[in-house]
Symmetry: C2
Subunit: 447 residues, 2 copies
Amino acid sequence: MKRRPRAVVIGAGFSGMQAAQSLSKSGADVLLIDRNNYNTFVPLLYQVAAAQIEPELIAYPVRTILRGAPRSQFLRAEVQRVDFADQVIEADSRRIPYDYLVMATGSRTQYLGVSGAVENAFPLRTLEQAIALRHHILQRLEQASQTSDPVLRQQLLTFVIVGGGPTGVEMAGTLTELKKAVKKDYPTLDLREMRIVIVQSGDTLLNNLPSRLGRYTARKLSRLNVEVMLNMRVSQVSAQTVTFAEGSCLPTTTVVWAAGLKAAVPEAAIALEQTDKQKVKVRDTLQLIDYDNVYAIGDLAYVQQQGKPLTGVAPEALQQGVAIARNIRRQIKGKDPQPFSYFNKGRLAIIGSYGGVGKIGPVLLTGFLPWLMWLGVHLVYLPGFRSRLLVLLSWLHSYGLGDRAIRLILSPSPLQRSIPPPQVSSSQVSHPQIAKFQQHPTKTPLV
Amino acid sequence: MKRRPRAVVIGAGFSGMQAAQSLSKSGADVLLIDRNNYNTFVPLLYQVAAAQIEPELIAYPVRTILRGAPRSQFLRAEVQRVDFADQVIEADSRRIPYDYLVMATGSRTQYLGVSGAVENAFPLRTLEQAIALRHHILQRLEQASQTSDPVLRQQLLTFVIVGGGPTGVEMAGTLTELKKAVKKDYPTLDLREMRIVIVQSGDTLLNNLPSRLGRYTARKLSRLNVEVMLNMRVSQVSAQTVTFAEGSCLPTTTVVWAAGLKAAVPEAAIALEQTDKQKVKVRDTLQLIDYDNVYAIGDLAYVQQQGKPLTGVAPEALQQGVAIARNIRRQIKGKDPQPFSYFNKGRLAIIGSYGGVGKIGPVLLTGFLPWLMWLGVHLVYLPGFRSRLLVLLSWLHSYGLGDRAIRLILSPSPLQRSIPPPQVSSSQVSHPQIAKFQQHPTKTPLV
């Protein structure tokens, strides 16, 4: 009997997950490797960071996804080395041979050389980062509610978002919504002091969409009292301030980094030919230039369509996962792989407060309809019936009541920045109401 | 105009939370202080640890609870000192005077002098501890699925619970249920190798209930393949083993500590007269022996009823919260406080797999009815409509399908023990299936 071919997929994001599922019907034994035992539904990360949904709802166990995929296995490990010549992977002191390899290691945050950004800004790419950001934001609110120093309070209540792409816009929008919930919990806090600033280096937001939609987004955010700063570059981030390239600065303890990303090329594969954002060059079949049996997909791969690079959205990754499974199936049968072609069903972006934008074919949409479509599409794609139902109920709760349910601050995780509230003296830290307690003059027992 | 009296409540557990809510209608200004900004619904902690419900669902924001309580405020701080003579509290470098003080600081884990327990056993008293235990358990399963060494696998799959009270029984029961979900995700793991052991120093489980119910519980757990060890004492806990007083030992990497607790007396108040489990002595009105305007309630207070000490369940704490608010209202009006009397509506304990026990008045219940009642009662008492609905749906999902939805392992928190998988050599760590990948003899490309 002929031995079944072995396919290894590295990375359980959108593209890797889809590749493993599709491959399991290809006649190959499939091994999926990831450092996490869950798949993160990245588009909803910002809602975790904004205390809107539970982190568990967008983290679906890889093993559960693979239940329905025969001949597939999961290995929780970190890949150290890929030996393309010998066709062997090294992962946590295991040597794993492969016939076919699918690299889907995704992307990581790119700090663009901005000094202090690595240490002080909050990226929003992983579940742990989203949780850390949530705790940080909630802690700023607690601290702001306890200080009577207006300067310090203003600094604690200033939230700066660097990057005007979808993540930046979503984060700015959701913070304006969070305000309403905060209002109910901190009745003594004057929320007109809460500043939300979005900084974009180019002259339009959402620059992967037509500029008309970018302009609409900027207007909508402005109406929600977000300060939209276009054509501005951040030059430095400290624990207390963000500094702009033209010299001005803004006191803030919260800088969300939604500015750039680069491909997360496995250390062992750095010899591969790389292009823009360190993405790996591939043929139009998604095979590596030099290796017929190795594919790169998702954010890792540099793929062009009609002369323009793909933008790194989930549908591209999913379609690539399906395509390489089909190509490997063809290779197993002795046929040639076929070029990948992305079918663009349209693009949607959510802004917040019942507003969004979208482009379906030639039609541009703004307002409530694309907002609702965004939520609908993401609900449908979210894996797991239980998660879907619970997220739906969470949305009905938060959008219906203008409330946020989750506001626990857990003890610091390793990812949480320990930014001390600046120059806080004992006398400063006193909420007007608590100050009343402190000035309590008499100590006569009433009984 | 007469100044309104000021009441300060330390601790936002069952008793403190209830005290603050009831006090806010007493005519006093109320300040509630806790180190966390949320109230933990402790009875469901074991379900968080067993990957059944999201931690956020049982952590309700204190500020949200206090929305409906006029004249009440919340301060997130750690209390360092109480000066009973001057009627001042020191919390995070603030001095806060009070007219009435309610101490509701609860209890903490008591390791009973067992060597290694502090470092190696997993307590289950706080949300962070429950999350840490969840990650630990899920990690053991991942590791067990990857090793081909039967001795190591047995050690990874042995879960020892120390303590046969409600928490210990709940934890043992839920682990037997978790097995079913694990079965689906790790089809290659032989779950007959999974050992769940509950160790009780006395001769009956649930010793606060009639012994007939304890015997039923032991039989039920045994039928679920839990090894019930009665009259056994643990003498030592290491990262690899648990050792018993009579000399035997058991290789395990997971010891859940559900054995003992003692009152969490604020450091400043240690001069107070203490009794059993370091609980603070109070009058029958719940006032401190020496201070008319200071109350101690909940797990902190030693309260007797008909010559027997109260057992530390939630209804006792809630009723005490109401009682001291009434007493303080009486004191404000110049009347004498009244003795507290606990009205016992009954006791319920959940075992698992649709079984529970209960005592309502003179009636003893076993089986499905008390199981269902336990869930119902806890659903009703869980704060927050959203949490209640989401927990209900989670239960329908997990009890209906025998599945567990949440299985993400996040990166280690400070609370998570970093227990290395013992003596793992590269050759040992190989799942039979992954071993097949490794033994792959030829490296001929198929294309």
